[in-house]
Symmetry: C2
Subunit: 339 residues, 2 copies
């Protein structure tokens, strides 16, 4: 292991987006006197009559959820993107804007109000994977949609307004910033090397082993060298696949197992239902040749020291660049030891 990386301030380069993260290993020692997050260890009921996502309940707009048995997907009642919104463009000197159309959906992972992905059986997580595949394919076929963003906000601290296990899918006409950056970085590398940027990186990590958390026949879970969030992780398919649409028969279960393993380990880390935002970055559905894409799922958890102390991405991080204290290698060891 390169000990300089554990001892001195440095920047690490994120090859997927082409930006840097500042790492200050020695700063993990500073005392914390600031805001603490509330932790709710209340055990939730399996059914909550006031929850608008529970099976059979009525939502705010008056629609009634079906009595669903596993996964349930519906169009977001307060969608940020809509299909029927007007097309327009503003090009007025230095003011530039353009309309954006899209479809936003909500996906309930389980009818059981009390569960998170970490509490679910792998075979039930696989049903979520099937639903993600179906949505990616169907939305992707819509001529209006060129990119499908699957994500989950888990925990009140991540802006999640309902504890019922659910995620979201926002699909739209253009590539959002982060996807556009990854698109460009992967394309440049692919054109130069005729191989997958993320695949080549993963193989390097599999040799080094320092940042690997878990692997099975189909997937690797690791902390990327350039991770921003203290316990950020990434699930990468071992073979070069552009999107979750490429998952073969066994792959869906193996992917579900990877999701199960990392979310269970997270819950053990600070003995709490671990908050995070997770998301899948994958090939655009723009009908172009997207061979340079290697899909992956990332988890961005905010906690730093305990169930109540999070990492604040504020002043320097907003105006300068992301900054972390604990190194990726130490974080990987902490999580690996819990599996």
């Amino acid at each position: 292991m390169n000990t300089d990386l554990q001892d001195y301030s440095h920047k690490r380069f994120n090859i997927l987006i082409g930006e840097w993260v500042l790492v200050s290993p020695h700063r993990a020692k500073r005392p914390w006197q600031g805001q603490k997050e509330a932790v709710s260890n209340i055990v939730r009921p399996t059914y909550d009559p006031s929850c608008y996502l529970c099976s059979g309940n009525t939502r705010i707009n008056g629609e009634k959820n079906p009595k669903y048995a596993d996964v349930f997907v519906f169009t977001n009642d307060f969608a940020a993107l809509q299909t029927d919104s007007k097309s327009f463009k503003v090009e007025d000197g230095l003011l530039m804007a353009q309309s954006e159309q899209g479809i936003c959906k909500v996906i309930c992972f389980s009818p059981d109000h009390s569960k998170s992905l970490a509490d679910m059986e792998t075979k039930d997580i696989e049903k979520v994977v099937f639903a993600w595949q179906k949505e990616y394919n169907e939305l992707g076929e819509n001529a209006l949609i060129n990119y499908v963003q699957i994500f989950e906000n888990k925990g009140a601290v991540m802006g999640c307004s309902n504890p019922h296990p659910h995620g979201q899918i926002w699909s739209q006409s253009t590539l959002p910033n982060e996807v556009d950056k990854k698109n460009q970085q992967q394309l440049t590398y692919y054109n130069q090397n005729k191989s997958s940027l993320l695949g080549d990186y993963m193989n390097q990590e599999l040799e080094k082993k320092e940042r690997i958390i878990f692997e099975n026949a189909g997937f690797v879970v690791l902390i990327p060298f350039w991770a921003v969030w203290p316990f950020e992780t990434m699930i990468i398919p071992k073979t070069h696949q552009q999107s979750i649409s490429d998952l073969k028969a066994d792959d869906t279960f193996l992917f579900a197992e990877a999701v199960s393993t990392i979310t269970k380990a997270y819950d053990k880390l600070f003995n709490t239902s671990f908050p995070y935002s997770s998301g899948i970055h994958q090939a655009p559905t723009n009908g172009k040749d997207n061979n340079h894409w290697h899909w992956h799922m990332s988890f961005y958890p905010p906690l730093l020291r305990s169930a109540t102390v999070k990492k604040f991405m504020v002043g320097y991080e907003m105006f300068g660049s992301p900054q972390r204290d604990i190194t990726a290698e130490i974080a990987a060891k902490m999580i690996r030891d819990l599996i």
Copy 2:
């Protein structure tokens, strides 16, 4: 006013960093059932014996603060960047890192523990401006330092661990991401147009008036067309100045007045001591010709609907792009009406 921008989802282009923000005006109507922030309206004493920033008190590392009368600057006891840390480089396949040196300082705005910038007299804020100038100049002269980031995290929700009025200065060898983006965008424009990108933009805004909040003889306070945070604002010098070092005699007071005006208006908005991260982006201190730079100060406040409900930049925002609900024009009117 372009009403399409008030009615339909669209993206606006941030000319300073070359990235987009998604705006969903209709979404401001959705109900909020999620996390609420704690509001502390406790009136603080003017001196707190347990505060490590109060005049004459002892800090965690045993050092004693002088009995300072206005502004007090010291080197951060838990600095993320240090001058004496080792120089090294990692270029190992797709793992790339390099050491980063720097100096981090803390700047107490006032000995009065109970005050924020919003409560201070303009002439006392001007003393803070003088200190910022001095630090920018002195740090900039250090051969190790090529960029000086001045910022403030205000409020517990912004990761501020001590309510004593203070900000920070992190200075370093290389340009952090956000500064690098602004450097490139301004340079490209300057080479093409031989004028300041931000200056030209400001003149356009002064004509339109829709997003202007306040102006005096030296400065404009506005909500940028591409603002991300609900009540984000920017203070721009009316003449083309590269850094706060270029401020002429009257300018320092006029700048202090702009800071005073916007922070006072913020406090009135939700009747609370308004949290934010603020920062000054200005010319690097790298000895190069930085004529393309037009310095400015930005405020990124997290609150959205009230003193307790903030905007969460989570799932879609982390994986896709920043997203806002209320438009810049409506937010500008709300703040302008309070002045």
